[in-house]
């Protein structure tokens, strides 16, 4: 111990959690004017950690930077990794430029998942706003794959315009199922739209679920989640049955950078999915 002058091996005796693996883009699929889905495969010899619905990865574009994106694929399918992203700034724009063969750095999966196992035996209500459908999709895949474990399955989805509706073929398929109720609404209709118009919270009043045995999974802008929770509570669902997924600036996803803090929580590791009663107090404080 005292003759401590000999040198240790590099820092990376243990792996650096900030170091990504370079995945290959198989395909980039357009979902709407500003949203696309990347299909990615891991580098040869690398075995990814299986993900749980609601978890996210940090996506890295060489020369540009990194950002947090939820996994939008089927947790039972470990062949390809799916990320559905809306272009809002520098990194998301660069990701949008990826073509088959491009490399994207991936590290993860991170964060607390939607508690799909705990919801077994209950009706499950998914409420999605905009891009919020992407982080919910793996949970929907899961409950449909374990259909008999759940009561009614309801999806309430609000998009800005009909053009912005994500995963249209999949929504059509889900709508046609007899064991799932799908309601879609848009903020602004266009000619030819025959569905609902208005905010997604309007759909909650008549959605079919048993207030005493319901688990609600909500993902969308914070203000939308706020009103959605109020409506669901109004229907008599217990706070402890409601889950929300929060968004904060994230630089590390490993609890080191401090950026994602919200009161006592690190959204990256304690969340992003939280049971509503645990975060209610903090969500109500402005500029927290």
């Amino acid at each position: 111990m005292i003759a401590a002058k000999e040198r240790t091996k590099a820092a990376a005796g243990a792996a650096d959690p900030m170091r990504p693996e370079l995945y290959r883009v198989q395909r980039s699929r357009r979902e709407s004017s500003d949203t696309f889905t990347l299909e990615l495969t891991p580098p040869r010899g690398y075995k990814p950690t299986p993900f749980q619905p609601g978890q996210f990865n940090m996506l890295y574009m060489p020369g540009v930077g990194e950002c947090a994106i939820s996994i939008s694929g089927d947790p039972a399918d470990d062949g390809v990794l799916l990320h559905t992203t809306r272009v809002v700034g520098t990194v998301t724009r660069a990701l949008n430029g990826c073509k088959a063969g491009s490399r994207v750095g991936i590290r993860g999966p991170y964060g607390a998942p939607w508690p799909v196992a705990e919801a077994e035996g209950n009706d499950v209500v998914f409420v999605a706003g905009g891009i919020g459908l992407a982080p919910l999709r793996p949970a929907i895949f899961h409950v449909l794959a374990h259909r008999r474990q759940y009561g009614r399955i309801v999806l309430l989805y609000g998009a800005r315009t009909p053009e912005d509706i994500l995963f249209k073929p999949m929504l059509r398929k889900w709508s046609s199922r007899l064991d799932m109720d799908v309601y879609v609404t848009v903020d602004r209709a266009e000619a030819g739209w025959r569905g609902n118009v208005g905010v997604v919270t309007n759909l909650i009043k008549r959605a079919p679920f048993d207030r005493l045995n319901t688990t609600a999974f909500i993902c969308g802008p914070e203000i939308m989640m706020h009103y959605t929770v109020l409506e669901i509570l109004g229907r008599g669902v217990n706070e402890k049955g409601i889950y929300v997924s929060l968004e904060r600036n994230m630089k590390c996803a490993t609890g080191f950078c401090g950026h994602c803090q919200m009161g006592p929580f690190f959204v990256c590791k304690d969340g992003p999915v939280f049971r509503y009663d645990k975060v209610k107090r903090w969500m109500e404080i402005r500029e927290l």
Binding site: M1, I2, K5, P62, G65, F256, I285
Partner: protein, 385 residues
């Protein structure tokens, strides 16, 4: 770095301090200690007792720091400077890895170099406490930071107890000083005693490595008198803290006062300069930046210290979560004193007082907390020297 009982206590006459430095230098790649640089006491490489700021006193007040050369023979008659161990175990700027590109292909390489062993002389008790807090952040909660680990594992810590606390100090309130007890494990602890015509150090070992080191020093029997002198001096030091902070119910006070009008008052003065977070030995926030070669052939990820006082810290598409300075100061202080407890099981403040001294407008965490606690406050503490 196993913690063992303080088996050994002995006396090192002041003339033996050079032998300690020499022995440290023989066994470690670098030896750091307090040194005056740019009118501040900083951790710098030392090779001789002549490098130490002998007789130097530091004056601390809100927004004020001055060094004065005094006549005293003491080697450690000052308290903390703007540096803390933080920059040694968690460098302000560190390239984590880089990537070389050719076409679509790329290879990633770790960039952090192996570090040598570092012995540090003159580590204050609050510094040890801060290191224990940082350990929880970087090693104790889920993910582990290998960059921190490799630096942390190769420290040899020679602590020095504080017998003359500063006007900004409140370690006694936080239970982190002025004596060495608890905190991160240390190797040697010194107490500088002057009296009865003698000047020297009471030396204790806190680890096996420390005990081995002691065997190499020109030590003398300590005797009960010196141990008593140490206790008396520490008790006096605890009573002469420039500031106090009542930690009773602190978490609840902060959580319950998010809307207190005092936040607005602090915000009126706060420049959001982030000085407090930079000098704080426990603040750990960082950003990771992308650095690219001009020809695009390579890129690197560099981690730099960041601060919750920066507006962009909370940017998400559509706006910043903490727009107002009020919300940012509230975040900082609430994190230190309250949410840190939920996150890591300890208070995030060790009472070193740096944020008070290096705040250009003299915002004072102890005073601001006292206002929230509804306690009467005095505007300033006593000045040392």
């Amino acid at each position: 770095m196993t913690r063992i009982k303080d088996i050994a206590t002995a006396y090192l006459p002041a003339e033996g301090l050079q032998a300690l430095i020499d022995t440290l230098r023989q066994h470690h790649d670098r030896v750091l200690g307090p040194r005056v640089r740019e009118q501040a006491i900083r951790y710098e490489t030392i090779s001789s007792v002549a490098d130490l700021p002998r007789g130097v006193k530091d004056e601390h007040e809100g927004g004020r720091y001055r060094l004065h050369q005094g006549e005293e023979a003491t080697f450690f008659g000052f308290v903390v400077g703007p540096d803390s161990l933080k920059s040694i175990v968690y460098p302000p700027r560190l390239t984590l890895w880089s990537m070389k590109r050719s076409g679509h292909e790329g290879t990633i390489e770790d960039q952090d170099e192996p570090v040598g062993s570092t012995a540090i002389l003159g580590v204050r008790p609050c510094e040890l406490a801060a290191l224990a807090v940082q350990d929880k952040v970087f090693l104790g909660h889920g993910f582990e930071d290998p960059h921190y680990r490799q630096r942390r594992e190769r420290l040899f810590l020679v602590a020095v107890e504080c017998l003359q606390p500063g006007a900004h100090c409140f370690c006694d309130s936080m239970g982190t000083g002025p004596g060495v007890n608890g905190g991160a494990s240390w190797d040697l602890a010194l107490t500088e005693l002057v009296g009865d015509g003698r000047h020297g150090f009471l030396v204790r070992a806190g680890s096996d490595a420390g005990r081995e080191m002691m065997a190499k020093l020109p030590l003398e029997q300590a005797g009960d008198g010196l141990e008593k002198a140490r206790e008396t001096a520490l008790a006096a030091a605890a009573k002469s803290m420039g500031r106090t902070l009542d930690t009773d119910g602190l978490k609840k006070t902060l959580y319950d006062h998010v809307d207190h009008p005092h936040w607005e008052k602090v915000a009126d003065r706060c420049l959001a300069c982030a000085n407090c977070t930079m000098v704080c030995p426990t603040c750990f926030c960082s950003n990771t930046m992308e650095e690219t070669a001009l020809d695009g052939s390579s890129a690197a990820r560099t981690r730099v210290w960041d601060s919750c006082f920066n507006l962009d810290f909370t940017y998400i598409h559509g706006g910043h979560v903490r727009r107002s300075v009020k919300s940012r100061y509230r975040q900082w202080m609430t994190h230190k004193l309250a949410s840190w407890q939920d996150q890591f099981g300890v208070i995030g403040c060790v009472g070193c007082g740096r944020c008070i001294t290096w705040c250009p407008v003299g915002i004072d965490i102890t005073r601001e907390a006292a206002v929230l606690q509804g306690k009467p406050t005095k505007t300033s503490g006593r000045t040392t020297s």
